[in-house]
Amino acid sequence: MSLSLQEVKRVAWLARIEITDAEAEAAQGHLNGIFKLIEQMQSVDTEGVAPMAHAQDVVQRLREDVVTESDQRAAFQAIAPQVEGGLYLVPQVIE
């Protein structure tokens, strides 16, 4: 698997990371090296093997549907780049 410059830029877009042409070229070299490493996975047959996401055989824990947290908005928003009236400010999205 080897990425074209176009694909590097596409992936950067999916990841919402701005990338210049020069950066994309540098990234392309490194990424293709990493893909060569990853390709080794194809050397083993995994037919019929169940994917493993978690070490222990557990399920998502449930709890009672009651309020357990307290309002800490002021503390959490004190570190935000831009807030007003309890809202996080971002550039306008909808006209």
Binding site: R16, L31, I38, M52, A53, A55, A80
Partner: protein, 485 residues
């Protein structure tokens, strides 16, 4: 006071031979003097630490001391600590003062420990050398021209240089064990689910585990006692009965079966490291252990599988950094999407971006099956290899890293060369098994070598027992770099 165990420190504090305030001041002075060379700390807050020390002294005077009360502990900057700058080694969080405590930080505080400072690390825990931090590289106390390992390099360097009696770190692919090995000290990554990840900035959620870094196995056990345990706020935290990890330390090792995988002694392993490991294994046999040759056939696939799974999970976890609610926001942008793209481009370093790109690609439409799912299947095969192995042995041993610490800058330009440092450690993260590194000798250039011990699920007490008995019979763990002894 600098080369004693935590138990000896607790006794000194109880007997009033030293106060926590004096002990904390002693270590803060060492940091001020030594850290300009090593760069192990990102944040020191003298007032905060001394205030905690005073509170600890009050507890000690009132007869309410616990084993860690009054002990200064260095905390990897990946753990949120309320009121402390928590940067995760990244420009993205360079201004993030955490409004809450990680579960583990809360537990240390409740135990009366003193937070000595926040330690330097590879950015977002992605690295094996502690060179990618936005605050510059950490240096190895044994040779400041070399790396301390990563990503918990700051924590490891702090302990090795006696700037802190103990530290905590995190391990996703070896980030506690490999720095411990390269710095000549001890570190353990517990079974997945034993230490809560709440407040531990997420890298790869199915692999991350927090754990202690210290000078000896007994210290690791005391720290693990404080850190481990169920936390409802971490949905992957395991609800199990409490354990005392010191309970088996003194058990004799007669009959202990040590599995030695043939795959760990192939090409790529330095002869100096192999020799030190061989000597350690012979020592274990002298202590009554039996050495058994085993095979972990899918070992060679650990690194490829890890470098699919970890970046994939990282790409998801790091999508929260968008310049909106906290962290770095680009100063100029045209619209919302541009805000995201520029904040992330400017806030993240090169290695972090590389891993996000890999992760995004392997999870994207058309590639998910071939890469992510395939890697998860290989993960199952790797875990099954261990299950089979533990039918024949109690512990698995080998080298922690393929070489001793390398030079700063040596591997920084070839990601794959850097990734190969993890060759022995990642399998334990993939399988969720507990794994530990303890010092077992020296190699090229007089640099430390670490012995890697992988245990079966929940066998930390037995692993610490094996390490403690080894440390009773040897003195590698008492060695300190000459300048900092």
């Amino acid at each position: 006071m600098l080369n004693v165990t935590l138990k000896q420190l607790a006794l000194a504090l109880a007997q009033k031979r030293i106060s926590s305030v004096e002990l904390t001041q002693l270590h803060l002075e060492r940091v001020a003097r030594i850290d300009p060379v090593l760069n192990a700390f990102i944040t020191i807050d003298r007032e905060r630490s001394l205030a905690q020390a005073q509170a600890a002294d009050a507890l000690i005077a009132a007869g309410k001391a616990q084993p860690l009360t009054g002990v200064p502990v260095a905390v990897k900057d990946i753990f949120c600590a309320q009121g402390w700058l928590t940067t995760c080694g990244s420009k993205m969080l360079a201004n993030f003062v955490s409004p809450y405590d990680a579960h583990v930080v809360g537990r240390l505080n409740a135990a009366g420990a003193v937070i000595l400072g926040k330690t330097n690390m590879d950015e977002f825990a992605m690295g094996s050398s502690s060179e990618t931090s936005f605050r510059g590289p950490v240096k190895n106390p044994w040779d400041p021209a070399r790396v301390p390992g990563g990503s918990s390099g700051g924590s490891a360097a702090a302990v090795a240089a006696r700037m802190a009696p103990a530290a905590i770190g995190t391990d996703t692919g070896g980030s506690i064990r490999q720095p411990a090995a390269l710095c000549g000290i001890c570190g353990i990554k517990p079974t997945y689910g034993v230490v809560s990840r709440y407040g531990m900035i997420a890298f790869a959620s199915s692999l991350d585990q927090g754990g202690p870094i210290a000078k000896c196995a007994e210290d690791l056990a005391l720290l693990l006692n404080a850190m481990a345990g169920f936390d409802a706020r971490d949905s992957t935290s395991l609800d199990r009965p409490g354990e005392d990890y010191t309970r088996a330390l003194e058990q004799p090792l007669a009959g202990l079966r040590i599995g030695v995988p043939k795959e760990y002694f192939g090409a790529g392993l330095g002869a100096d490291v192999a020799a030190a490991i061989e000597t350690a294994l012979a020592q274990y046999e002298k202590l009554g252990a039996k050495r058994i040759a085993i095979s972990l056939p899918n070992s060679g696939l650990s690194v490829p599988a890890y470098y699919v799974i970890a970046p994939a999970e990282a790409s998801s976890n790091l999508s929260r950094y968008d310049g909106v609610r906290y962290g770095y926001r680009a100063p100029q942008y045209t619209d919302l999407v541009d805000l995201y793209c520029k904040s992330r481009a400017q806030g993240f370093g090169a290695e972090v971006k590389r891993r996000i790109l890999i992760g995004t690609y392997v999870l994207s439409h058309g590639y998910y099956d071939a890469y992510y799912l395939k890697a998860q299947k290989i993960r199952r095969l790797i875990a099954q290899d261990f299950v089979k192995a533990y039918e024949q042995c109690d512990l698995i041993m080998g080298p922690t890293a393929p070489s001793v610490a390398f030079a700063v800058g040596e591997k920084a330009f070839d990601p794959v060369q850097m990734y190969l440092n993890d060759i022995y450690t990642v399998a334990a993260n993939l399988a969720g098994l507990p794994a530990m590194s303890i010092p077992c000798g020296f190699g090229e250039g007089g640099m430390p070598v670490g012995l890697h011990v992988i245990g079966n699920y929940f066998s930390e007490a037995k692993m610490l027992n094996a390490a403690h008995q080894y440390q009773r019979a040897t003195d590698w763990h008492t060695r300190a770099p000459r300048e900092f002894a």
